[in-house]
Amino acid sequence: MKLMLGNEAVARGLYEAGVTVASSYPGTPSTEITEFAALYEEINAEWAPNEKVAAEAAIGASIDGSRSFCAMKHVGLNVAADPLYTASYTGVNGGLVFAVADDPGMHSSQNEQDSRHHAIASKVAMVEPSDSAECKEFTKMAYDLSEQFDTPVIIRLSTRVSHSQSLVEENERADYIKKPYVKNIAKYVMMPAGAKPRHVFVEERTKKLIAYGDNCPFNKVIDNKSDIGVISSGAAFQYAAEALGDSVNYLKIGLVTPLPEKLIRDFAASVKTLYVIEELDDIIETHCKKMGLSVIGKELFSFCGELSQAIIAEKILKKTAETYTLDINVPVRPPVMCAGCPHRGVFSILNKLKLRVSGDIGCYTLGASAPLSAVDTTVCMGASVSGLHGMNLSNPENAKKTVAVIGDSTFMHSGITGLVNICYNRTNSTVIVLDNSITGMTGHQQNPATGITLKGDVTAAVNIEALCKAVGIRRVRVCDPYNLSDVETAVKEEIAAEEPSVIIARRPCALLKNVKHNPAFTITDCRGCKACLRLGCPAIFNREKTVEIDKSQCVGCGICKDVCKFNCISEGKV
């Protein structure tokens, strides 16, 4: 038995199921699945530029006959929704499984969507494990289900399942024999003539899956001889089991789409009071109510945030834990840009110039936090560039005081299409690519601009300057974000230009292992103007009348020296 993250266990499941192709885009809390999958020589695992490309690569591999896989976070499934909804019609050749990790509580996400809606809308099967052992088993079983019912299968995870470690037993890899590819236009070419009969097939498949759910290894009844019943799934089942123990009967649903009917009806008939305990939306509850069953669900539990054993104990048992309280005001500790983060210099200039900043998804979203407070909008991957174009269409004068900021990985993901639109439909927009040469926030994943693959092989690197020029940007310039005057000049000139422009602020993430740091800077004769504190650097501390640099954190980026009007900050000695 080995202690494994849920994500590591999914990867183990891929290995044991004989999977050979895995294509994903990183996204918390799903990232480690594909990183662990890449450790198996037998799995050809890769980072694709975005989830749609990844999903399509997995679909192609499945049609060719391989067992294939694609992982993403919940919002990534929106990007991959287009191929998913039609892959539901084509069905599979080799088993095709997606993993989608929801983030109830929004630990590291921009929304709290419930991915079960995508499974319902695309009419594919979805399974939901509750711990790491189930992550592995459900992954393996998902491949059999996919091939048996000719459907893509989605494994729904959540932060607490993906990022909790529990015990897993490892087994041998299955001897999966790749299916032969046979040309089948009616199944794989989805033009209306082929798609109409496939839609009929999908509806029939759903009926079969509903019947399968009545007696399948994903769903189970735990009978504790109680007259109270609880229907639950995923992490919520674990919370319910802890709060209520063996005082109630459980119907633990593992096949969450489509939901079974007879199994639920029989379980409901066996108890007097029936609760549905599910995180986020009321999907099981609505299903029960549609069948005419009387259940208690969202009148007790919120649509927002994570559930927990404490919430369930409070709502159902009316019990709350005794706690200690300290009578002090504890200041919040929000995440911050790291000491030496190359994004800081750019945001300090954008703040200084009081520009409107169309932001994006990544570490640099933290540019919205005090004291820099430089970012105005963050919607989704790529929206900085396309949204900036919209702002400038709305009022062309905006172009003189508005920029977009986007990281290198996000630019590869879906920023480039927005830039094409800027050129094609002509707004004088200025896009700043914050090129830190890595996918930062998710924990340092390679991307097409870094020239290194997930497996660590050297490959072609996208040349961002040449790419921008190729789509029609004539004004492309590169600057070093540690050089504040250089950044300021670049930004002022490009927003003033009467044509679209791109500034690439290039410097690798300060946390990368191969990045050499300078000795810590020092402050002498501080006048207490506190201009350096406005950089929001975690290595600079406020000490009543003066400031101090924390030597253990400072990496010598030097931008504080540039903002000190009294020349009190100097380079450290080697």
């Binding site: 630990h107 470690q165 089991a241 706690t323 200041p331 840009m337 504190l533 600079i540």
Partner: protein, 189 residues
């Protein structure tokens, strides 16, 4: 009866390694274990917390208010933040390190005085250690997390050899000696 250990600190202080070490120790002990981690945004210098739960059969991986038997805090302010998670009669192990959060750095909030004294005044058993100093003595300030594991080993009934085995398995070879020293200094603190 299941037991719960909550580890809190600031992103970058190594709470993940600490919870994994405890997890390894517990597997060797032969009990059911769950370790819950937080990755992503909060790792960027934010407040971070990990949970270790063990016993005959662990269901929920998370620790709620009033449930932790032991809280290990790598920083004083985080000790104050997570105090409500301590079970009545539970113990607190605190590294006396102070790391100012951004609202304090930017002058919008004050770092509270004498946190440890105030926690003790509630009648809670607190073991406070200057883990940063001991880690530096061992060779790297980054090893404060392992110093705190040494502190935990005294407050917790686990055979010494299980700890050594866990350190061997979880720590990169390059840093093994340093971390063993850090652990020992924590034990002696």
């Amino acid at each position: 009866m299941n037991k719960s250990i909550l580890i809190c600190g600031v992103g970058g202080q190594g709470t993940l390694l600490a919870s994994r070490l405890i997890g390894h120790v517990l597997i060797e002990k032969g009990v059911d274990v769950k370790v819950s981690e937080v990755h992503g945004m909060s790792q960027r210098g934010g407040s971070v917390v990990t949970y270790v739960k063990y016993g005959e059969k662990v269901t929920s991986p998370v620790i709620e208010k009033g449930e932790a038997d032991i809280i290990i805090a790598f920083e004083q302010l985080e000790a104050a933040r997570y105090l409500p998670y301590l079970k009545k009669g539970g113990k607190m192990l605190v590294s006396t390190q102070r790391i100012d959060p951004m609202p304090v750095i930017s002058g919008n909030a004050l770092y509270p005085d004498d946190i440890i004294g105030k926690v003790k005044a509630l009648g809670i058993e607190v073991i406070a250690v200057d883990a940063l100093k001991l880690a530096t003595e061992a060779g790297s300030a980054k090893a404060s997390n392992v110093v705190m594991m040494g502190v935990l080993s005294k407050a917790w009934d686990i055979p010494e050899e299980l700890w050594q085995k866990a350190i061997d398995e979880c720590v990169p070879k390059k840093f093994l000696e340093l971390n063993k020293k850090a652990f020992k200094l924590g034990q002696q603190a």
